[in-house]
Symmetry: C2
Subunit: 379 residues, 2 copies
């Protein structure tokens, strides 16, 4: 497939999104056409990124200027302000100036950490994303949100910052382990259910249980996410109003991800969160059985139906009550704010808010049922 270029427009923020095979090799000629040349490049990657990817990217950018590589330890426990501060010091130590370009090579965590470093140094250095996971390529880089964790909660500190270019090398994505592809597809399913249900039939024909996709199929999937997310983020770049729909499945999802301490990845956790959200909406009379079934069908097809153990429930519920959506609406004791659907592609509204207050007992009941549900019942 050829090299595709899309322009992302989220509010007043604009950036280029490139995807294709050998798209990395376009970077040097792009810089050659710019008015001001970068003084240097600093690649930020975690220590788990294959050396081959860093070498390819370094070699390409090396045609333009000096390239430095900084590494940090992967894992949520290092996604914090201390890591951001340390990288900032290191970048300056390398002699960076305002014309230094930061390059994030890796998954969503790397994109966020490098996004914060780039956003803060000299109050904003140019940033290029080279996402190496499907989750990063189809979801994280289609957001202006940058954040890291505090000891008291995930993603509690951050800001909004846009890259100049997103450069998705599809060859990196096709070679990913099945579980990582599946994790990315969970957010794709979220986009189908919440924004573009009319595309569900088309995707049912694409999704495969072995997750061996052709680069052109991955390109189609990414292009769909660009279109779907742009629909809401063009008008709501900060994801505070209609963009909150992108948080679908994330209230319970985040809590499960955290409670399971890494047993379930982000995609799997959000899949569980969406199934619970659908059943809650059904019980509240917002969503039809048919719509709920489409959730099961799509998530089943990509193999993302997980059954967390009963023992995780108390921890999930504890975390739910300190969710970082707290404060989007007035707190109400015994209730948790959630993003729900009132029909496929239609966010549920309660008192003009995209956050619906759901009784904690109902959440408990639905999570219990979901955990006990036999996969065969629905699939």
């Amino acid at each position: 497939m050829t090299h595709k270029v899309r322009t992302i427009q989220f509010g007043s923020y604009q950036y280029d999104f490139w995807y294709g095979k050998h798209v990395i090799s376009q970077l040097s000629s792009w810089f050659a056409k710019q008015d001001t040349m970068p003084s240097s490049f600093v690649l930020i990657a975690d220590t788990g990124i294959p050396p081959r990817i860093l070498e390819e990217t370094s070699m390409e950018l090396g045609r333009v200027g000096n390239v430095h590589v900084l590494r940090f330890e992967p894992g949520e426990e290092h996604k914090n302000l201390a890591t951001v501060a340390q990288l900032c010091e290191q970048v300056i130590g390398l002699g960076a100036d305002r014309r230094t370009v930061m390059v994030a090579v890796g998954g969503g965590v790397t994109g966020n950490i490098a996004g914060m470093v780039a956003g803060m140094l000299f109050r904003g250095l140019p940033l290029i994303h080279v996402p190496t996971t499907l989750m990063a390529a189809s979801d994280s880089v289609l957001s202006l949100k940058q954040a890291v964790n505090l000891s008291s909660g995930k993603n509690l500190v951050g800001f909004y910052y846009a890259p100049r270019i997103v450069c998705v090398e599809l060859g990196y994505i096709t070679s990913l382990p099945v579980r990582e592809i599946r994790a990315g597809l969970c957010e794709v399913v979220k986009n189908i259910l919440t924004i573009a249900p009319e595309e569900s039939e088309r995707f049912k024909a694409i999704f495969r249980s072995d997750h061996h996709y052709h680069t052109s199929e991955l390109g189609d999937i990414i292009d769909f996410c660009i279109r779907a997310k742009s629909t809401v983020m063009r008008e709501d770049p900060f994801e505070k109003k209609s963009g909150l729909i992108l948080e679908y499945g994330h209230t319970i999802g985040h809590a499960l991800e955290l409670a399971s301490k890494g047993q379930y990845n982000h995609g799997e956790s959000v899949a569980f969160g969406m199934l619970c959200a659908a059943r809650i909406a059904e019980k509240l009379g917002l969503l039809s059985r048919e719509a709920v079934n489409l959730h099961y069908e799509l998530l089943n097809q990509i193999g993302a139906w997980i059954q967390p153990s009963q023992e995780l429930l108390p921890a999930i519920e504890h975390i739910l009550h300190s969710d970082n959506k707290r404060g989007y609406r007035q707190n109400r004791t015994g209730y948790t704010g959630m993003v729900l659907l009132q029909g496929l592609g239609q966010p549920a509204m309660q008192h003009e808010s995209y956050i619906t207050l759901v009784p904690n007992e109902l959440i408990h009941e639905v999570m219990q049922e979901q955990i006990r549900l036999k996969q065969s019942v629905v699939s």
Copy 2:
């Protein structure tokens, strides 16, 4: 004098600026008129702020909701990401949510630290500035720039963030020590020289060596700064183009401030920086002797003419070469980028840039002369 309200418009950023006597007591009634009430307030102040000021502010905001106070150690050595991270953890520890309002009570450093905490928590909490120094009230809060230091340099990490309200209680300003008033007036003189030289006669009649000003005079001074800074920042909210004029005197000023390790405060250092910048511009044929003399005259009048010791020169020059304007223009060995005037109120342009490359020998020569200059020669 009565309570004055101005609307600050820097690009698409807008906020209210209140100043006057007893203006703090307007806060609770302002909140009573808003659609959503804050869930709580967190005041951030350094340990040097008089308890009376914190009590007054807490009592007023206490009519609206719970008020917490967090303190940090004053001084440049604590103006870093570690302090920001610690305060973020503490704010969340107090149970803050998206409707928590952050209140910065103090000088410029407090405004920057609290600005970063407010800007990052939940990717942006509402912020109120209660500046307690003239420098903060007339300069720092009229900027969107937030920053803290890295070990390798001042203000190297930060971002842009706007408050909701600036609330200047003039009673707090009148009771400041003379040296603090004078420091603030140095930036006022900068605004006169760079933006509104036509106001110099009026200010010559206001400035007094004892620095005992009536609140109405302080109100006039602050109002002038609002108008002067708005002239450039309305179109350049990020201070990267025409707004760079606000960096006048800051290249050498910052270096002196740092090299002197606190012996000279920011205002005094910028005063020295402006005198050097004026003499450099004169030697480059950009500025008339008359214009240079107005620099001496105004700074003399407020008693801001300092004579740093000869021994500081090497340290100043070392710092100049790693100034955080590096990269605004292509580096050139043996030159330092500076903001200069080509006439009062007129930024010097070199190759369409507001940064003029000045030979390091010329900077050295002028600093030498300035240090040796007898104050009586000009005054």
